[in-house]
Symmetry: none
Subunit: 244 residues, 2 copies
């Protein structure tokens, strides 16, 4: 399931929230980290000292209690070899190399051994140029041009979901099993009888049998569904006969 891999990976990734204003957003970021198996939360100069009580951190109060505070980005990322800024939308002019989130993860994985910091800016202004000057490259969440700016807690959730997203899990929808012809013929026969009995079919003839068989086959039933339907129709047939 790639879960082990994801946990190892997540142990080396620090989420760094820079100058966050709303304690609820810190709580929401902590909750998302916990949801996707990340644990290292770092805060640079948060506006409210009350953030550790954030009620939005459902299931993540430990993580929040262990979050570390730093006076500057430089200190927060000191032990990380790779520092990545985040932004939403497409139109920001940056001097940095921009990598779309879906393409960013293989790159982050290849660098994770050295320690990676993922920086999120304040709700109002995002990351400043000074903040970005600590970054090696910028990860961009691809959002709509009409409303590119994301809520901080949602941006953290989306990035961490993508980090934990299992590349191996992709593909292959299992085909669903189909009822055998024998099953379908039993259903056809029962249905045909019930339809004659209920005067849905006025006459019994080869053509109507063919029509019903085609109809039944066209339903694309599973073995179980075919048997269940046969049972249902049999009951109705029994009831119709009993009372006529």
């Amino acid at each position: 399931m790639g879960r082990t891999q994801s946990l190892t990976f997540s142990g080396r990734l620090a989420v760094v929230l820079v100058s966050t204003r709303n304690p609820l957003n810190i709580g929401a970021a902590a909750r998302a980290m916990s949801n996707f198996g990340f644990s290292q939360l770092r805060l640079v100069d948060p506006y409210s000292p009350a953030f550790r009580e954030a009620k939005s951190a459902v299931g993540a109060s430990d993580l929040l209690a262990e979050a570390r505070e730093y006076p500057s980005v430089a200190e927060a990322v000191a032990d990380c070899a790779v520092v990545i800024g985040t932004t939403a939308g497409r139109n920001r002019q940056l001097r940095h190399e921009m990598v779309l989130l879906p393409n960013a993860v293989p790159r982050i994985r290849s660098e994770i051994a050295s320690g990676v910091a993922l920086l999120f800016g304040s709700e109002k202004r995002g990351l400043s140029n000074e903040d970005l000057s600590h970054c090696d490259w910028v990860l961009q969440i691809p959002t709509a041009a009409k409303n590119p700016s994301m809520n901080l807690g949602q941006a953290v959730a989306v990035c961490l979901y993508e980090m934990a997203r299992d590349a191996k899990a992709s593909g292959k929808i299992a085909a669903r099993a189909r009822a055998s012809s024998a099953d379908l013929n039993r259903l056809t026969a029962t249905l045909l009888e019930a339809l004659e009995n209920s005067e849905y079919l006025t006459t019994s003839n080869t053509r109507s049998e063919e029509r019903i068989r085609l109809f039944v086959r066209g339903l694309g039933l599973s073995p179980k569904d075919s048997q269940t339907l046969t049972g249902m129709v049999r009951h109705m047939l029994w009831k119709m006969r009993q009372s006529s």
Copy 2:
């Protein structure tokens, strides 16, 4: 960038929030929809009538103003052929087929032409069994076992990010048209009556209605097949009644 295609895709997908308590979460869901280019928001029985003023809907106030309210899940999804429940975590015991989010999108794309509804349950309890009985399958966000339950706004953001993630990768499995939920509910109601009448079901209760609805949805009927079956069962029902 596949944006045009993504918008076409998104135009056919309705986000349905069921019994949401916190107006901030409705606002957050609206914002995420707007971020990823989705527009159809539907609300089933929201707890607060004040949701349209949610301040968390930055850049999405139009979308929120146009959100439609419904008294029940059945009415909210009546025009959608495919209804998908959502859940986070791995351990929930469900009768439905579960598909992990990364694998869900090709499947949703293949069915998008018939209209797709994506259901999110309330903050506290998620989707109820009654809600789920309207669903064809369940999309599961792969979260950590230690803290599987996601914040609602973040869950919506993660799902819609994944939908918009790779517009180009759209699988083109020729889609067979699917019966609308309204059609399937008609069939369910008729079948339920017939099954009670024939004593296939001995008592009429909520659980049996849910079971039959799930069975009917699981058949994957086309609009025409659904109508034909409804007509057949109606005839049998008429016959049973006539003679009893």
